[in-house]
């Protein structure tokens, strides 16, 4: 369910045509990465560390190499030994040496499941048998599994060369603290003195996984002339090209990356794992194509996840409900290599509010767990869990409606965050108002141990580089090439923007996701950027077509080009008129084919805000939390393709509910992951959830021709806090630890 209460000023945008790849995806014909089959193809498998922290003494692959059917075995010795160098990668920057060591461990293994060697053989069964024949001698080291212990000076050190990035300067001694950051404004002591109520709490959250259903895969063909083709499941084909180039020291121009259909990503398929191994194995096996796929256990032990965290937050408000001061410390698990999303967490934690006196400290800390990857609004959910719970408590102390409290303090255009950045036009207050007026919030809720919670969320969104090209067919349709991987309907949200601009139906556009040799540079599908930035490239491309078609009309009508106008899909000059389709049929007689392309890097992406309302029932005996009703309100800028905007919100909510109630990485003291399967790492199923209602608020982003803001990420930010606040209203306990699993709820109730 959704609410779009404004009349739609567009013909195509704001409607919900059938997606272009729908039939392929409901018939099983869509080709995902693991579906590729090539002549002479070999199958790979990866040997992974059974230890969380150990030095590699030796690796003996000789027996594996002799097994019948084995064509190649690779270890870190087959990788270039890279010097440290910082490179940009998707939603963060990485050190390519660490990226190499994460691909195959060189001197040390740093987490349970860390890749150590890889094999290519005639079947996946033979490849797995070969893994058993590889002998690795380890010197086991004590694992570091907790961020606060990792920060102590007596902690074992994971990375000998790591020095703390302390406010931009490097420290001088070995450490597990990769970074220490700070934002501040105003006078924090004065702010707390002005407060009538102060709430201070500590929150912890556990590592959670993106949980995409399709495991990672990568297939490579290395040719004798040095040209390489990679087929894989990735959010960004150009990013794969860059990363493999860095890890293997191969020129990007030698690689073509073909993005296959992708079975979910949520940030977890930006970094490469298998692709460089497939390339190495293809080369070493005498130029045979090699396919690698991960098992679900490998996905959980060795890819993703996002950070567990420790957050301490203190906020004060005066009698009028104004927040007078706030301070927060965020410590995020980076996993084995630096790069947690603590910086984003620092931006999100108090981002939606006007705070004149604030201090935020952040620490990026390595521990013996998998290197973290982006996960939908990375770092935001942890942060909002803390802040939005404390805000709820402040509102309660003030005797104020929690939405009203947020309306008093919520950020609007011109307000500055604690880090000093100013908001352009945003729709936080409109979103809160829509939540307040919603049928859900206005409805009564009564029942034993029933509770209603609300929480808000904020995400920056992103722009980035995108390219598109289009050609006009004689029948009036347009073929569209674009570089953004379609992870959830963006072929259509992009085709719709082209169609709107050209005044043709969405069905007359044929969108194709192109490989890296066939389209201009395009960043990955992340940062809620595709419909925004690639949409902009598509809009520019459409305008390019219009300009060229005006020239053709001018030839036909024997007038100057500037006498030709284009409006509502019709070219005209005086009494002459031609629809887009009519003019398309006359291209041959006016100079031949018409194509256009555009490349953009739009900067004015619009932040997204959300307010979620949830009703829960708490079972005091079992600790089970039942979600009774859920409504997600969000400023989406302009919903280009509303069915899929709503679906993004519903999906984000479901992930947030899983994070809130069930999902966590469970490790033993030695650092072994105990629940690396979907029976024990329990994600929500259909039976766990109600229908998820959405209310779309449209405060157009002035930085986009159609008002687009990103929509995909912010919906995962509020759910844990909203549910925690609902649990409090139901049974009177403040939950400060995620997940709020039955055992933790029972324990909290007993206290």
């Amino acid at each position: 369910m959704s609410t779009l209460d404004k009349p739609n000023e567009y013909k195509v945008i704001g409607t919900s045509p059938l997606r272009h790849d729908g039939v392929d995806k409901v018939t099983g014909r869509a080709q995902y990465g693991a579906d590729i089959r090539l002549p002479g193809m070999l199958f790979g498998a990866v040997l992974r560390s059974p230890h969380a922290h150990a030095r590699i003494i030796s690796i003996d692959t000789s027996k594996a190499e002799k097994l019948a059917g084995v064509h190649a075995v690779v270890t870190a010795r087959d990788l270039p030994d890279l010097e440290s160098k910082i490179v940009e990668l998707g939603e963060g920057i990485v050190n390519r040496r660490y990226q190499s060591n994460n691909t195959l461990a060189r001197d040390k293994v740093l987490y349970f499941g860390h890749a150590v060697a890889a094999v290519a053989a005639t079947s996946s069964h033979v490849a797995k048998e070969a893994l058993d024949l590889i002998h690795v001698e380890y010197e086991v080291l004590p694992p570091v599994m907790d961020v606060r212990k990792a920060m102590r000076s007596d902690s074992p050190i994971l990375l000998d060369d790591l020095r703390t990035d302390e406010f931009g300067k490097k420290g001088d001694s070995p450490t597990n603290i990769a970074g220490h950051y700070q934002d501040k404004c105003g006078d924090i002591e004065k702010g707390f003195k002005e407060a009538k109520f102060i709430v201070e709490r500590e929150f912890t959250t556990k590592m959670v996984h993106q949980g995409y259903i399709e495991p990672q895969n990568g297939t490579a063909q290395y040719n004798p002339d040095g040209q390489i083709t990679i087929w894989c499941s990735t959010q960004g084909s150009f990013g794969v090209r860059e990363q493999v180039a860095e890890i293997l020291e191969i020129p990007i121009s030698n690689m073509r990356v073909v993005p296959m259909e992708i079975g979910g990503g949520f940030g977890g398929k930006i970094g490469v794992y298998l692709e460089p191994l497939a390339v190495l194995l293809s080369r070493k096996s005498g130029y045979r194509p090699v396919k690698l796929t991960m098992s679900r256990t490998e996905v959980l032990t060795s890819t993703g996840p996002t950070s567990g965290s420790y957050i301490k937050i203190k906020m004060g408000a005066d009698a009028t409900g104004k927040i007078t001061a706030a301070e927060a410390t965020l410590i995020y698990e980076a996993g084995a290599y630096p790069g947690s999303p603590v910086g984003a967490g620092m931006g999100v934690i108090l981002g939606p509010y006007r705070i004149e006196n604030g201090v935020i400290e952040g620490y990026d800390v390595v521990v013996n767990k998998p290197r973290t990857a982006a996960y939908r609004a990375p770092g935001g959910t942890n942060a909002a869990f803390a802040a939005e719970t404390v805000i709820d408590e402040l509102a309660e102390k003030l005797g104020m409606d929690p939405i009203e409290f947020r309306l008093i303090n919520g950020a609007k255009e011109g307000d500055r965050s604690i880090n000093g950045s100013a908001f352009k036009r945003i729709g936080y207050l409109e979103t809160l108002q829509a939540a307040k007026e919603s049928a859900h919030y206005q409805s009564p809720l009564s029942g034993p141990r029933y509770g209603r919670g609300i929480a808000a969320g904020y995400w920056f969104n992103y722009g980035g580089k995108s390219s598109a090209s289009a050609s006009v067919n004689n029948d009036g349709t347009v073929s569209l090439l674009e570089g953004s991987v379609d992870i959830g309907g963006t072929r259509t949200s992009l085709a719709m923007q082209l169609a709107e601009t050209l005044g043709i139906p969405a069905e007359d556009v044929r969108p194709t996701v192109a490989d890296t040799n066939s389209i201009g540079y395009t960043e990955g599908t992340y940062g809620s950027r595709t419909t925004f930035a690639t949409g902009w490239a598509v809009y520019e491309t459409a305008n390019g077509l219009i300009e060229k078609l005006k020239e053709r009309a001018a030839i036909l009508w024997e007038v100057e080009k500037d006498k030709v106008t284009f409006e509502n899909g019709v070219f005209s000059s005086g009494d002459e008129k031609l629809t887009f389709k009519e003019l398309a049929s006359k291209l041959d007689e006016t100079g031949g084919p018409v194509v256009a392309s555009a490349a953009v890097q739009p900067k004015q992406y619009g932040p997204g805000f959300a307010a979620h309302i949830v009703d829960v029932e708490v079972d005091p005996d079992t600790g089970k939390i039942q979600i009774l009703r859920y409504t997600a309100v969000q400023d989406v800028g302009k919903a280009i393709y509303p069915a899929y905007v709503e679906s993004q919100i519903q999906g984000g909510v479901a992930q947030g509910i899983g994070w809130a109630l069930n999902e966590e990485y469970l490790y033993d003291e030695q650092g072994h992951l105990l629940n690396a399967n979907w029976l024990d790492y329990r994600m929500p199923v259909a039976l766990d959830l109600p229908m998820i209602d959405t209310i779309l608020v449209e405060v157009a982003n002035p930085g986009h021709p159609y008002g687009v803001r990103g929509v995909g990420e912010v919906p995962i930010v509020p759910p844990p806090a909203a549910i925690a606040n609902a649990i409090y209203r139901a049974v009177g306990v403040r939950m400060t630890e995620l997940p709020m699993s039955p055992a933790r709820v029972v324990e909290a109730l007993r206290k």
Partner: protein
């Protein structure tokens, strides 16, 4: 290499013969030997339903069935759901309701939905949610999937 077994089975209405190793799952044989790539591997241990097929009328995870077990039996995969006349109502409704994002779990959900409607043509929302609890989707939050199945039941 282990000896191979000769298997004859009916797959999507056609007699099919193949050789397989005893250790190979039905999912592996469908994909690697028969080239039927619609059934997907998500977990290979029966927790996600992406590899759902109908075996003699019963919904199964093909990753948990050994290929040698299908001797003389009938299997319907996602490739056998549409008819020569066009899409099955479930397939049509999944597209109309936007009941998919990435599409990876979709074949499993549609096969599971068909197995449900074959035995219960008019399920309640609760019955749909219970039946589909063996299928994981991480993109949609299930809302639209449940609506698509309920709407297909009316078609």
């Amino acid at each position: 290499m282990p000896n191979k077994t000769h298997i004859t089975a009916n797959i999507n209405g056609e007699e099919v013969e193949f050789l397989c190793e005893p250790r190979q799952s039905l999912l592996e044989v469908l994909r690697e030997i028969l080239g039927l790539m619609g059934a997907k591997e998500g977990c290979n241990n029966g927790n996600c339903g992406s590899c759902n097929v109908i075996l003699d009328g019963a919904l199964v995870n093909s990753c948990l069935v050994l290929a040698v077990e299908i001797q003389g039996r009938s299997v319907t995969t996602i490739e056998g759901i549409a008819t020569p006349e066009g899409l099955h109502p479930l397939q049509q409704k999944f597209i109309e309701h936007a009941a998919l994002q990435c599409g990876y779990c979709t074949p499993g959900f549609i096969v599971a939905g068909k197995a449900l409607l074959d035995q219960n043509p008019n399920p309640s929302e609760q019955e749909v949610r219970e039946w589909l609890a063996g299928n994981l989707c991480r993109c949609t939050g299930y809302d639209r999937i449940v609506r698509a199945v309920l709407d297909a039941a009316k078609a």
